[in-house]
């Protein structure tokens, strides 16, 4: 293998490192190191997982043939085109899953470990039954099988090769299984398990590795759309999206929802957002997650934490629509958050996953999203493939790396990409292609720009107290309209309604009547309708009529002159007295201090209780209740009783130790030094290979270390399987304190 890697051309090496990027980091010291790393289990696993179905099938077929050449692999697969197989084999060589030795192509040793049941074939029967009959006889024998046995064989032939006989299986099934075992057609590792040995399976398959070779990728079909349809629909979705993101920010800017202790958004708050935006909960969750992923929204980190828009939102908001889209689309493509999980039950958990919560973070989401979009990108232009066919194509593309709920994930990605305008009516849009081509933000924005409606800079004000923006509003105007009016309907246009509350919101935000009316006048080509102007003025008339504030003390006196004197007194300036009515002064200083200060300066105030009574100090002196103090610590001297107890305990300990020594001397086997796991593993592996027994120290469930004479069979996945005291045992390596050969 190392020689093969050393003999590769620079181009080949370049391709190898490009396709198996894990080999390049950290940079290997030399080509031998590269070869060694390329054959490690982790790296091979990664490479195999990345194979598409065609390469995987060829690789599996190659594992079955004695000499790896295109003809025999093609024969094993049952296909006629050796040329295709040749190319695929070459590819597998390029990624160093095959290597070329003196006798031709060879498999990298670890591939067999990674694919233990390659092509759905079980272990060889040679160990249990010795040499089996030739294939023709096996087939002939199988044909004589009674129907139940035949049915079992049919089920196992194309894999998976093992089956479990359920408890209470019908007699004829058990009968069939017994017949198969008697005729040595299956292995029976335990009473209720059947495994079809590879020799039998291959014979029954007629020597072929796969039932359905799939060397060509499936071509998804669907509905053909036109460029105008697709880009038009995308543009319209983006208009909606941008407006909705603004709504999220406006809504949460005014009423920030609480951050749950577990870090997410409460279901109730999500529902409230959905109803405020007039969308369903799924879309509301998507919008919240998208805004969060784009950094436009964050946990404000305060003591009573809440979700609120970030300053980045204000920057984002000022940009033109196409730029804003580019930011959102890019964040969506790269985020590892999975909005579609919101509202579902976490695997193996209880309750539901909250939006913005840690459980909606699902790293595979990014790769899968990219895979789905790549598939969309590969179909002919403006074709909207069906979701089912897209799943098929994905399963071909990544047979070993797909989640069980692929259909759901694909549906979610399609839904989200539609909302984002990455697709329009199911087909990828021009802007979507630009996104997948990883273009920079400016070019991405430019791809979307022609499909977005021109921003408008005016609204139509109407006497029924509505305003209609006949297109997306330019940034500042949009913010203003959202502030002083409520959105009633959205789509191509936005309908705003002015209400008492909405106008008051504007005034609360610091706008004056004339500013509001001025801004409305500027935004409208027609004069402000009289009823609208009246409404604004009417709200303003009452706005701020009543004032509310907080102070720590008040001074009241029926004699205005006395209060005037206090205000004029320089010595009282630390009290920061302020007159709020003819007979009332207020101060931000505590009431007791105010009383004291006034007394010092020749006034004669009396303190008042909150309900207006006069505070009369009880008796002369000040009293305080006693604080509880802890009792002082005292040490007790060592007395005789204690000493004798101690001595008895020490004796008992000594005897126990002696007993243990005696026991250790009398027991079988060598002493067991504690060995490090590497050594332990090596000892166990060696013993497994040589079929030798070993003494192991094993820490049991109670933490007691026990000695065992152990016959290891195989070591894998951090465990060692074998037999001890005549029964099968599996030990975890990390619990083995030491091992020594018998």
């Amino acid at each position: 293998m190392a020689d093969d890697v050393r003999d590769r051309s620079d181009g080949d090496l370049h391709e190898l490192l490009r396709r198996r990027q894990d080999l390049a980091r950290p940079a290997p010291a030399d080509l031998s190191a590269l070869a060694a790393r390329a054959s490690t289990r982790a790296s091979v696993q990664r490479a195999v997982d990345n194979l598409d179905l065609a390469h995987l099938q060829v690789l599996e077929a190659a594992m079955l043939v004695s000499t790896i050449d295109p003809e025999s692999v093609a024969a094993s697969l049952g296909v006629t085109s050796t040329a295709t197989v040749r190319v695929l084999l070459q590819d597998l060589w390029t990624v160093a899953l095959l290597w070329r030795g003196a006798e031709g192509l060879r498999l990298v040793r670890t591939v067999a470990e990674v694919l233990p049941q390659a092509a759905g074939l079980g272990p060889s029967a040679r160990e249990q039954y010795g040499a089996l009959s030739p294939p023709e006889e096996l087939v002939a024998l199988a044909q004589t099988a009674p129907p139940p046995a035949r049915a079992i064989l049919d089920r196992l032939t194309w894999g998976p090769p093992s089956a479990v006989l359920p408890m209470g299986a019908p007699d004829r099934v058990a009968e069939g299984a017994r017949w198969l075992a008697e005729h040595q057609l299956v292995l029976t590792p335990s009473a209720d398990r059947l495994v079809l040995p590879r020799e039998v399976a291959l014979a029954l398959r007629g020597g072929r590795s796969h039932a359905q070779p799939a060397l060509d990728p499936p071509r998804p079909s669907g509905t053909q759309r036109t460029a105008q349809d697709v880009d038009g629909a995308a543009g319209q979705q983006v208009t909606d999206l941008l407006s909705l993101v603004d709504d999220v920010a406006t809504e949460w800017g005014l009423r920030p929802p609480r951050v749950l202790r577990s870090g997410g958004l409460a279901v109730r708050d999500l529902k409230r957002l959905a109803s405020a935006l007039d969308v369903d909960v799924v879309r509301a969750a998507f919008l919240a997650e998208l805004t969060y992923a784009a950094g436009l929204l964050a946990d404000d980190g305060s003591l009573d934490a809440a979700w609120a828009p970030t300053p980045a939102y204000d920057e984002w908001q000022k940009q033109p629509g196409d730029r804003r889209w580019a930011v959102l689309a890019r964040s969506w493509l790269l985020t590892t958050r999975a909005p579609h999980l919101v509202g579902t039950t976490p695997p193996g958990g209880a309750g539901t996953i909250n939006a913005l919560g840690p459980q909606a973070h699902w790293p595979p989401a990014r790769g899968l999203r990219r895979d789905v979009l790549d598939q969309l990108d590969q179909v002919p232009s403006w074709l909207a493939p069906e979701a089912g066919q897209l799943c098929e194509a994905l399963r071909w593309r990544r047979p070993r790396r797909l989640p069980g709920n692929l259909d759901e994930v694909v549906a979610a990605v399609l839904r989200e990409s539609e909302w984002l305008g990455v697709t329009g009516r199911g087909a990828i849009s021009s802007a979507g292609r630009a996104l997948l081509a990883d273009q920079d933000e400016a070019r991405l924005a430019a791809a979307m720009q022609p499909h977005l409606p021109e921003p408008v800079k005016h609204v139509l004000l109407q006497a029924d107290l509505t305003a209609v923006a006949p297109g997306p509003l330019a940034g500042g105007l949009s913010t203003f309209m959202r502030l002083v009016a409520d959105i009633e309907s959205r789509g191509g246009a936005t309908v705003y309604r002015f209400t008492t509350d909405s106008v008051r919101r504007g005034l609360d935000a610091g706008w004056s009547v004339d500013q509001v009316l001025g801004a409305l006048e500027d935004a409208s080509h027609t004069p402000v309708p009289q009823p609208l102007e009246y409404l604004v003025r009417d709200v303003a008339r009452r706005h701020g009529q009543t004032r509310v504030g907080a102070m720590r003390a008040y001074v009241r006196c029926d004699d205005e002159t006395t209060l005037g004197a206090m205000l004029a007194e320089r010595e009282l300036s630390p009290l920061q007295l302020r007159r709020i009515a003819a007979t009332v002064l207020v101060s931000p200083v505590a009431a007791e201090t105010v009383v004291e200060f006034l007394r010092e300066n020749g006034f004669a105030p009396v303190a008042e209780t909150p309900d207006g009574g006069v505070v009369i100090p009880s008796s002369a002196g000040h009293r305080t209740p006693l604080q509880r103090r802890s009792a002082p610590v005292t040490a007790h001297a060592v007395d005789d009783e204690l000493v004798s107890t101690l001595v008895v305990a020490l004796r008992a300990g000594e005897e126990a130790a002696a007993f243990q020594r005696e026991e250790r001397a009398s027991r079988q086997g060598p002493s067991l030094p504690s060995t490090d796991p590497t050594t332990t593993l090596a000892v166990l592996r060696e013993a497994a290979a040589d079929r030798q027994a070993v003494w192991v120290g094993y820490s049991d469930a109670d933490g007691q270390v026990r000695r065992l004479l152990f016959h290891p069979h195989r070591v894998e996945g951090g465990r060692v399987h074998g037999t001890a005291e005549g029964s099968p045992r599996t030990l975890s390596i990390h619990r083995v304190t030491g091992a020594a050969p018998d």
Binding site: Q236, D278, L460, Q462, V468, S489, P531
Partner: protein
């Protein structure tokens, strides 16, 4: 990107920019399937509802036309989901058809078997149908025709009623058009109705709905039952029919609390039909008294629930509903659709006003400020008393006086809800009061005097809301109303919108107490006016012009 006049919103509303050069074209294209919701000055809002789409189907439009209209006139890309929804909704109409079968009588036929299976399994529909005739048809008892249509609409599979109508007892009726003729839109309304069989004609108050009724009778040439809201209205129908048709006094009967005449054309009030004695409707016989060929419903939006139930049994007769608005405050629009029929004709107020058939109106809200003691009384009042307290405030009286003075010489109505307030106003203004307690003869005498100009001012309670005809009222002053009812506003505005002899502008004042629920309710009503395209102003009582003494 096409620059159309229409913007399609995601909530299925359509915004029509009225100043756009293609606005009229677009309006005509969308009118068959979209209901006009608001018509303020710049942008009109239409709503696409399932009922509207089915109305369009009933009128012979198909989904392709609807989708095409939307795409042709839309400024931006139309949401795909909406187009799909339109097509799917429209497709539901006509899968089920009610037909006459020579052997089995009334049958429900389907063109889509799963739909029939679905509805037949519905527990409310099962008892309404009879034996299954074959895969596609099921027998229906004629008495369940109405109920079945109601229930089918509820489950979203409206049935097309093609079972036809009985001709009824023939009776010669024709329009006496020696000195007048039907206006073009009235003719269109009559034709639309006749073509459709049964249905509702929507026309603004003052646009001559009675004449549409007369036109329909002339088409039907059969005995007719006319259902109206009250006795005064019944008498007006009678007068109008005598004047506009060849019918004579002997041919028209009145069936009301006072008289029980059954003649070839009988005018009955809702009230008498819904009178119950010992839990039974005592006048139901009227419906079967003759073999009616046409049933006319005046003011469909006020149709009381028992009449709906009775109508369900009258499905074999032609039905014409007349109304100014399909908006029902009780939300029973679907019953109107299934029991009386789909909308057959509709014209926006503004269009008819522009054609000069109804008077232009100047709507003004006058705000009065309650004096301090009243504000305090208002603040501590129980919520249910607040409206009365605010709307009956005595500060409104001088304002009304001032307005009356300002329009001296013009026929003026003062309209209110509370009798004490009306009595007080009448006393101060020296005018007569008409309330529910006023005898019919007295009412008619006063109306007549008002009509001929003998008296120029009347104070009326809400009895004036419905179906009285005061051709020359050109000023209405509203002092209190029924909690912001939009429908009432339409009716009251209708009072002054009837065409004036000299084309004067009508004036419509609402006097409202500031900062109270009165103003809140007024805001609802005002919104309705603005939505109907009437500009309105708000003035403070102090800013009213003082008429020269």
């Amino acid at each position: 990107m096409p620059d159309g006049p229409l913007i399609v919103q995601s909530d299925k509303t359509l915004l029509l920019e009225v100043d756009h050069p293609r606005a009229e074209e677009a309006r005509r294209a969308i009118a068959p399937f979209a209901e006009l919701e608001r018509a303020p000055e710049h942008i009109h809002t239409y709503r696409v509802t399932p009922l509207g789409l089915w109305n369009a189907r009933a009128a012979g439009h198909d989904a392709e036309q609807v989708v095409n209209a939307l795409i042709t006139f839309s400024r931006y890309a139309v949401p795909h989901a909406l187009l799909v929804d339109v097509a799917e909704t429209m497709d539901r109409y006509g899968r089920l058809t009610l037909e006459k079968d020579p052997d089995h009588g009334l049958v429900l036929r389907t063109t889509d078997r799963p739909v029939l299976e679905e509805v037949l399994r519905h527990k409310k529909i099962k008892p309404l149908v009879g034996a299954r005739l074959d895969d596609d048809r099921v027998a229906v008892h004629p008495s369940e025709r109405g109920h079945l249509k109601q229930e089918l609409l509820k489950v979203g599979w409206p049935a097309e009623d093609e079972a036809g109508y009985v001709d009824g007892e023939a009776h010669a009726i024709s329009l006496d058009s020696s000195d007048w003729s039907l206006r073009p839109y009235q003719q269109q309304a009559v034709d639309g109705f006749w073509h459709g069989g049964s249905g509702v004609v929507v026309l603004p108050c003052g646009a001559g709905k009675t004449l549409v009724g007369a036109g329909a009778m002339a088409k039907a040439q059969a005995t007719t039952l006319i259902l109206v809201t009250n006795t005064v209205s019944a008498r007006q129908w009678r007068d109008e029919l005598l004047r506009r048709t060849t019918l004579t006094d002997d041919e028209i009967g009145e069936y009301s609390g006072a008289r029980k005449e059954i003649r070839p054309v009988t005018i009955a009030t809702y009230q008498v039909l819904t009178t119950r004695r010992k839990g039974a409707y005592t006048h139901l016989d009227l419906l079967d008294a003759r073999d009616w060929g046409l049933i006319l419903y005046d003011e469909v939006h006020l149709l009381p629930a028992p009449i709906f139930r009775m109508t369900a049994d009258l499905q074999a007769r032609r039905r014409l509903g007349l109304t100014a608005t399909l908006v029902r405050e009780d939300g029973r629009e679907a019953d109107v659709f299934s029991l009386i029929g789909p909308k057959r004709y509709d014209a926006p107020w503004k269009d008819i006003e522009a054609q000069g058939y109804i008077a232009p109106a100047d709507c003004v809200e006058v705000r009065v400020t309650l004096p301090d003691p009243d504000r305090l009384a208002y603040a501590v009042a129980e919520p249910e008393d607040r409206y009365r307290l605010a709307s009956c405030s005595p500060v409104k009286v001088p304002v009304v006086e001032q307005l009356v003075r300002q329009h001296r010489g013009e026929p003026t109505l003062v309209i209110g809800q509370y009798l004490d307030q009306l009595d007080e106003l009448a006393e101060r203004l020296g005018a007569d009061v008409i309330t529910g307690e006023t005898p019919v003869s007295q009412r008619q005498k006063l109306f007549q005097a008002f009509r001929v100009g003998e008296i120029g001012l009347l104070v009326v309670s809400k009895v004036a809301n419905f179906s009285i005809d005061l051709p020359e009222a050109s000023v209405a002053i509203q002092v209190s109303g029924t909690f912001g009812s939009r429908q009432e506003e339409a009716q009251r505005l209708g009072r002054v919108l009837r065409p004036k002899g000299d084309g004067r502008t009508a004036h419509f004042y609402t006097v409202v107490a500031r900062d109270t629920v009165d103003a809140e309710f007024a805001a609802h009503r005002q919104r309705f006016l603005a939505e109907q395209g009437y500009a309105y102003r708000i003035v403070d009582a102090g800013d009213l012009p003082t008429p020269a003494a």
